[in-house]
């Protein structure tokens, strides 16, 4: 393993969505800064928006919604557990970001008057803005990276952060997934934008990479933040999505809802009022599957031909364009039959739910010099636009921080330890393979952690994760690519344990299916109206703490508070 040393002011880890924005904005703020954007894939086509996006799920556009309304909606959808200031920082900057993206050449749907064509999908307000031509996203970001002269390193898997005497960021370490060269990058600050932890659970198909999230997003950012001493928030609020069965991608109700499509049971009946992805929605979905009324379907076959072809155009050319191919093989035709849906495996993703590396309204984590944005950070329901807005916030604040602090020194002892850890699997000729370690961990996650959560099962799960962790000490990699999978498997084990420990700590049920505990079936506001924080304890093991919910800046009245609890369609008692 050759060692390569580099020096930058700021390193942005993960060049998907929020990462490129953070890097560009840091350079705009201070063009003299040396900024590196580093990605395990290639920034041209990396991350969740690799092939573009169907639309903005959470646009706050004057005339359609106000930041206050949005903060209220997200507070209610999250059963009250939000840092409203952090949600407000997103909402207040949402429109400005849309206009900037518009100037950069992103095409949003507009009506005849040139106004943005916002649709209603959420329970209360209107925030969905379609992007029928949304497949150019990555090209547009790449152009901005070049214009701002951001340096880019592709195919380097970041594994750990280096910290200094006061716990502050001093460097970033990783390795090249093609050559196994070991990178040590000295820096003053870092932004983590590594996306969701999308490979914790095993898809029902059994195919490891058949995940909802881009499988590059294996929770490395969550793991490196944890090992650097950062706190992670509300990890028990899992991400669980309603997806096309086996394909495991969005159908997607956000696209089809405004056209008249909806989620239905086997009889073709609507059973939820609102298709916006919330824990309550997923709980009703789960109940319908359990009740004998399932499977659950996406129903479009009642729509007019021109509507269906428009839906097909969006769903089969953007975001997940292989959806059409999947349907062809299955003989699925939106015109003729409903599309079978299923509940996904678990993950961490604040883009869709609310868990991740704890950050405040400035994008700061609890580690000095460390920022996080997008799906890996803790601002709830942030989606793509939230990744952009918080990318910008982190870029600006990290640039300012870099200007105010001195150069950092590298802890050579920590470097040597990490190089030894990373290179070990390549030096073995025997041992379990990364595939085996990963498969087993994720299978155990499904067996023991998939909600409904049961304490006894969680205890067994934790014990089994320890065994796998032990086995992983002997893991074998025969080439740099397998080494990438080996290090990802280590992140996945960390994330699985974090998921279990956070879930066991919160002794109540909240967020619908995301944290539905059989042993504590009720919501308990008296004891648990708080965030939970997981971090590394003095003894090196995972420790949990409560954190009070920050005082609201947008009050919620009692009537509104439970709006998301009433998602089930009221049905008149059927005649006997």
């Amino acid at each position: 393993m050759k060692r390569i040393d580099m020096e930058f002011d700021l390193v942005v880890i993960g060049g998907g969505t929020g990462g490129p924005m953070a890097a560009v904005k840091a350079k705009e703020k201070n063009p003299k800064l040396k900024v590196l954007l580093i990605d395990k894939a290639h920034v041209k086509r990396s991350g969740a928006i690799s092939m573009g996006m169907d639309g903005l799920n959470n646009a706050v556009i004057p005339g359609h919604a106000t930041p206050e309304q949005y903060v209220k909606e997200i507070t209610i959808a999250n059963d009250g557990i939000v840092d409203q200031a952090a949600v407000m920082a997103y909402a207040a900057n949402s429109f400005d970001m849309i206009q900037e993206l518009d100037r950069w050449g992103v095409k949003f749907e507009k009506d005849e008057t040139g106004d943005y064509a916002v649709r209603k999908v959420h329970h209360l307000g209107s925030y969905v803005l379609p992007m029928p031509e949304g497949h150019h996203m990555k090209k547009i970001l790449y152009r901005q990276l070049k214009r701002a002269r951001v340096e880019i390193t592709n195919r380097v898997v970041v594994t750990r952060l280096l910290t200094g005497a006061n716990g502050e960021v001093s460097g970033v370490m990783g390795f090249d997934c093609r050559t196994a060269d070991f990178y040590v990058i000295r820096c003053k600050a870092a932004v983590i934008t590594t996306g969701a932890a999308g490979r914790i659970g095993l898809p029902a198909s059994g195919y490891l990479m058949g995940t909802y999230e881009n499988p590059t997003n294996s929770g490395d950012g969550h793991a490196m933040a944890y090992h650097a001493g950062a706190a992670l928030a509300n990890l028990e609020c899992f991400q669980i999505n309603p997806l096309i069965k086996d394909y495991n991608g969005p159908a997607c109700a956000y696209v089809t809802g405004p056209f008249g499509g909806y989620t239905a049971n086997a009889r073709g009946e609507r059973f939820i009022e609102c298709d916006y992805w919330s824990g309550q929605m997923m709980l009703e979905f789960h109940r319908e599957l359990q009740s004998g009324n399932g499977p659950v379907f996406l129903k479009l076959d009642h729509l007019a031909e021109e509507t269906i072809s428009e839906i097909e155009h969006i769903l089969h050319s953007n975001e997940r364009p292989s959806r059409g191919r999947f349907h062809d093989k299955r003989g699925n035709d939106y015109r003729k039959q409903m599309i079978e849906m299923h509940i996904s495996e678990i993950g961490f993703c604040s883009g869709h739910s609310a868990s991740g590396i704890w950050t405040n309204a400035r994008g700061e984590t609890s580690v000095p010099g460390l920022y996080a944005a997008g799906d890996c950070a803790s601002v709830p329901h942030n989606y793509m636009l939230g990744a952009f807005v918080y990318g910008r916030i982190c870029g600006h604040n990290a640039a300012e921080y870099c200007g105010a602090v001195a150069d950092r020194a590298i802890d050579e002892g920590a470097v040597a330890a990490e190089q030894a850890r990373v290179s070990a699997p390549l030096q073995r000729s025997e041992g379990p393979t990364p595939f085996q370690i990963e498969y087993k961990t994720r299978r155990l996650v499904n067996d023991y952690l998939q909600p409904p959560k049961i304490t006894r099962k969680y205890e067994i799960g934790l014990r089994r994760f320890d065994e796998v962790r032990e086995d992983a000490q002997a893991m074998l990699a025969t080439n740099p690519h397998e080494l990438m999978r080996a290090m990802e498997a280590m992140s996945i084990i960390d994330c699985a344990e974090m998921a279990a420990r956070s879930s066991m700590f919160r002794a109540e049920s909240r967020w619908g299916l995301y944290h539905y505990c059989v042993d504590h079936p009720e919501r308990d506001d008296a004891n648990w109206f708080c965030h939970t924080l997981l971090s590394k304890g003095a003894d090196g093991s995972m420790t949990m703490a409560k954190k009070a919910v920050e005082p609201y800046i947008v009050p919620i009245d009692d009537e509104e508070r439970d709006a998301y609890q009433r998602l089930r369609v009221e049905r008149k008692a059927e005649a006997a």
Binding site: K44, S205, L208, N214, Y247, S429, E430
Partner: protein, 77 residues
């Protein structure tokens, strides 16, 4: 060694008559987020080296000659 290799049918097929890797093209290898494609150094053609595909399609979309064909991986087809 107690390491076995298990055969698997890869979801990505490269039509070798169309692939121009011998002229220096590496586009599909460059864009794949999962880094599962490679150039066969003997044949000078692209191929799928690891069965770890997200069926996301940048390889197929960006190939200049239309040589890449992605199918949905068999286990979830």
């Amino acid at each position: 060694m107690s390491i076995a290799t298990t055969l698997t049918q890869a979801p990505v097929k490269v039509h070798e008559d169309k692939c121009i890797a011998e002229k220096g093209c590496t586009v599909c290898v460059d864009v794949c987020p999962l880094d599962v494609l490679a150039i066969d150094l003997v044949k000078k053609k692209a191929f799928m080296q690891f069965d770890e595909c997200w069926y996301c399609l940048p390889c197929e979309t960006d190939c200049p000659t239309g040589a890449v064909e992605v199918s949905i991986p068999y286990l979830l087809r």
